[in-house]
């Protein structure tokens, strides 16, 4: 057993990592500008990456292009299903290790839902929020595994493309999840306060019509006041409707931007210094994946809570 040197790691290991870092710095593009070509073996340098925004087609099913992000999405589904199946196969009162870990994760998410949405609404919204959270975080973290940029395949067009690519970097996936979030918020809002009242938040013409009715009844001053506030209410309702659609775009671009920027960052860092320097950025990517999943699920939960809580009736 090596003697516990500095920071609890053995000293030869730290020196080995430092040497690797320096060699890959010198043989990378920065070092070769500084010192000229020193003839290092070719596995110390990486070719210039060409990040592509739209995902590449791997094969075709009839008229539909199956892209590499779709295949990665299927992989995520299989992995998540397998983990949870293995955890719940023989459910015991005193849980086994895997079941314990899964119960801890789900328990934490349930506490989160109940904190934000209250006791009874928290249980209602828990499945949707948990599914979104687990899917986003599994997509993000599986995209950091080594095989995701190394396995290449030749597609029917004859190009060499990657077989797998993190599913969140294809803009269709965050868009699909944002649309699902929108539909779910509409469904739960309609179910809780009634469809008419839920839609009435956005087409808030009640006070306007009541004001016009007051004018026709001869009550001029009160009628004009109600017409004035009714016009303001109508415009506020239209702005709220607009904000619902802006919310879809915002969800999409937030998740897509964070994941794509992280992928491009990792590619660039590995191109510049090939071996050891990407480790802190992998840590950053793990954190960003977790935070983005929490934000997507948490914002969906907040909008669900707002939609399911009836506003207090305003004094006429």
């Amino acid at each position: 057993m090596p003697r516990r040197g500095c920071m609890g790691c053995s000293l030869p290991l730290i020196i080995g990592l430092l040497v690797l870092f320096i060699i890959s710095f010198i043989s990378g593009p920065i070092g070769s500008r500084l010192t000229g070509d020193l003839g290092f073996p070719s596995f110390f340098s990486v070719s210039q990456p060409t990040p592509q925004l739209p995902p590449e087609t791997v094969f075709q099913l009839g008229w539909f292009n199956i892209t590499n992000s779709i295949i990665a999405g299927w992989l995520t589904i299989v992995v998540l299903g397998a983990i949870f199946y293995a955890a719940t196969r023989r459910v015991k009162l005193i849980p086994s290790k895997l079941q314990n870990v899964m119960e801890a994760i789900l328990g934490w998410l349930m506490t989160f839902c109940k904190e934000v949405a209250g006791e009874e609404n928290g249980r209602k919204f828990f499945p949707v929020v948990t599914t979104i959270f687990l899917f986003v975080i599994a997509n993000a973290w599986l995209g950091l595994l080594p095989g995701f940029a190394s396995i290449t395949i030749t597609n029917p067009y004859g190009e060499h493309v990657h077989l797998l690519r993190a599913a969140n970097t294809d803009i269709n996936m965050p868009l699909a999840m944002a649309l699902t979030s929108f539909i779910v918020v509409g469904y739960f809002g309609s179910k809780s306060v009634g469809t008419k009242r839920f839609l009435g938040q956005y087409f808030n013409v009640g006070r306007l019509f009541r004001g016009v009715g007051q004018i026709f009844r001869g009550n001029l001053r009160a009628g004009l006041g109600m017409v004035f506030t009714g016009v303001i209410d109508t415009f506020v309702g239209i702005l709220e409707l607009l904000s619902v659609f802006i919310r879809i775009m915002s969800f999409t671009f937030r998740l897509f931007g964070n994941m794509t920027a992280g992928e491009i960052l990792l590619l660039m860092v590995i191109f510049l210094v090939a071996w050891v320097a990407a480790l802190p950025f992998y840590g950053l990517e793990l954190l960003v994946g977790f935070v983005q999943a929490l934000i997507f699920a948490g914002l969906t939960l907040v909008f669900l809570t707002v939609a399911a809580t009836p506003h207090e009736a305003e004094a006429a």
Binding site: F253, F256, G298
Partner: protein, 76 residues
């Protein structure tokens, strides 16, 4: 002016000017959260939850700028 040079200038300006807003915004959110936490340490849960939520909104604006810069740099 050379189109390539203009493109590089545009990308640099977009990210540089565009990140001023979100940076200041997140700083202000953190400042107010720290003040609130100092006045009322018992309300740590709701304060932190709302702070993370607000930071996510402010950060999204910075991500929009990054998308524009990436599209300018690689697609145009």
């Amino acid at each position: 002016m050379d189109p390539q040079a203009m493109k590089m200038l545009a990308v640099g300006l977009a990210v540089g000017l565009g990140m001023l807003g979100p940076g200041l915004g997140i700083g202000l959110i953190g400042y107010s959260a720290m003040q609130a936490l100092g006045r009322n340490p018992e309300a740590r849960g709701p304060i932190m939850t709302n702070m993370i939520l607000s930071i996510a909104f402010a950060e999204a604006i910075g991500i929009y700028v990054l998308i524009v810069a990436i599209i300018l740099a690689m697609v145009v």
